[in-house]
Amino acid sequence: MNRQTADHATLADKFNENEPRVNWHDETLWWVRAKRDKQAWSIPEWEQLREAASQIKLNVLGNLHGYLLQFEQQARQNGAIIHWAADAAEHNEIVTAILKQHGVKRMVKSKSMLTEECHLNPHLQANGIEVIDTDLGERIVQLADEPPSHIVLPCIHKKKEEIGELFHEHLGTPAGNADPQLLTAAARAHLRKEFLASRAAITGVNFAVAETGEMVVCTNEGNADMGAHLADVHIACMGIEKIIPQRKHLGVFLRLLARSATGQPITTYSSHFRTPVPGKELHIVLVDNGRSRQLGREDFRNSLKCIRCGACMNTCPVYRRSGGHSYHTAVAGPIGAILAPNLDMKDYADLPFASTLCGSCSNVCPVKIDIHQQLYKWRQVLVKEGHTTAGKTAGMKMMSAVLSKPGTFKRAGKMGRWVMRAFPGMVNNRLNPWYKQRDMPAPPKQSFAEWYAANEEKK
């Protein structure tokens, strides 16, 4: 398991060392957000769609037990083999056992954030099984030995020149060539060989339909289909919250997903896997890994509605300027910051504070999760449970002492204004995080209360 090495602020500082890179990252993601807006605004019923999606997911949360049983029964009838994993370790063991049983030494995987959450790749590697990620962005970060920095755009933090260098080293493309067309063609040729040679394929799952026992996988590249249809064994890994009640509900979610994610009307492929081809195997691994616990947290259960579009990341002023890796968790950004503390409060106590609480995430969320309100609520839980740093706790206590006593507040304000005028160096220094990359404002001559009192007298 990856344990926390540094907190969000420290990792964001590192990302911010290269200012032009940060500006580029910021602008690229905002461009994706703008594409999302264009698609959303072209659909007059967009807000009704969001509301319907949110209500369908709420219905799912209230009957998840029944829907899981229905899905299991239907999928078994379809000929799939169902596995249940309580946590990441069990998920990894199940997948490894299936692959070992078939003597698989090297295999392809399409995008699955669940397998990232479970750290499946290192586990398989330790068991002598090589995994080839086939989504282009994921393959790039895999070659760079990095985790994805965004759930939809895994290598959004990388410049094409860096990718050109990686491909030159690993795939033999010409040195110094960073043409996206050429690099994509090289990846196509390289991964086609892997697809043709692979006897097993792992895919994620976007939606699992209780009514039919089928799973829908959405890609633009076609990598999930190339892998799953050519292999003898297809292993689909999904969190238990991916269930939707009926097939017709796919109409709502498929209209929202790609428009919210990248501003496309739909992904190129929306594949509905129901039965295995005769002679082949379809395994479905249903993973809990903390989801049933989150379901029991009234304030946070709505986070399980998430369909992993990434819109909250693209719009987030903190994510855009701190980069996905600063969140040190598989799902970054605002939604990741409310999912991760459920997995480990101590390790991810910093994440709910990595937000301005501006609410933009909640406004773009296609299933209307109250993301910024949950971030705010997590902060309170984390402070109460003692997971914040001593400095923050002491600071909060002092603020609360000052703000709750008008006399103290008045005296502290006066003193602060005097200090800022008399000794500007006390606040304009590196030890004050507010001074970083900005100047402190000029201290006002009087407080609002003093100004108000003076003006009342004049009347």
């Binding site: 019923e45 196509r188 076609g222 190129t268 129901r274 379901l295 029991g296």
Partner: protein, 189 residues
């Protein structure tokens, strides 16, 4: 000892909130027209192209004109079908596959294809270029209409295909032809 299955299910049962009713899906269709023009506009924005034809017999000549370099062309619509029984890996050298689509969706350019139309599941993905034949009578406005028409599954695999395979993973530059078909041409009968 309780199995993981029972452990998960009992935890879910204990923790799930009170159930609310499913919402109605009425009134979500908006004002999208179900016309060939509307469909064509979206398909072209995805990098696909559309030809209006009055007979399937026109297809080979149109393909020869627009794709002069094709060596292996497979038509699931007619002709020689021994490839259905071959190992799917043998389709790797298919330059062009021609298949039928059941329904086309104007709002997003997608065509519904099942293993009835593509009897080897990997065919529409492994071919270098893909052609889909649709009926202009079967163009629908939205995905809600599509699922209404499709109904419950009769086949083991089905897919909505909207345009050629693509990626923008390298600096958000759009490149057509990631792992699936590099181009998509739709013939509307």
């Amino acid at each position: 000892m309780m199995s993981s299955r029972d452990k998960i299910l009992s935890a879910v049962k204990m923790n799930q909130p009170e159930q609310v009713a499913l919402p109605s899906l009425d009134g979500l269709r908006g004002a999208m027209p179900a016309t060939l023009d509307a469909y064509r506009k979206v398909l072209e924005s995805l990098g696909g192209s559309l030809f209006e034809i009055s007979d399937e017999k026109e297809i080979p000549a149109l393909l020869a004109q627009h794709y002069p370099e094709m060596k292996r062309v497979i038509a699931a619509t007619s002709g020689e079908r021994s490839w259905i029984h071959e190992d799917p890996h043998m389709l790797e050298d298919v330059d062009m596959a021609v298949i039928r689509g059941q329904w086309a969706v104007a709002e997003n350019g997608a065509v519904w294809v099942t293993e009835e139309e593509a009897p080897v599941r990997v065919l529409p993905f492994i071919c270098q270029h893909l052609a889909i034949v649709i009926s202009r009578e079967r163009i629908l406005a939205t995905m809600h209409d599509a699922y209404e028409k499709i109904g419950l599954p009769l086949t083991g695999f089905g897919v909505f295909i909207a345009g050629p395979s693509k990626t923008a993973d390298i600096e958000q530059s759009l490149v057509l032809g990631a792992h699936g078909a590099k181009s998509l041409v739709v013939f509307a009968l």
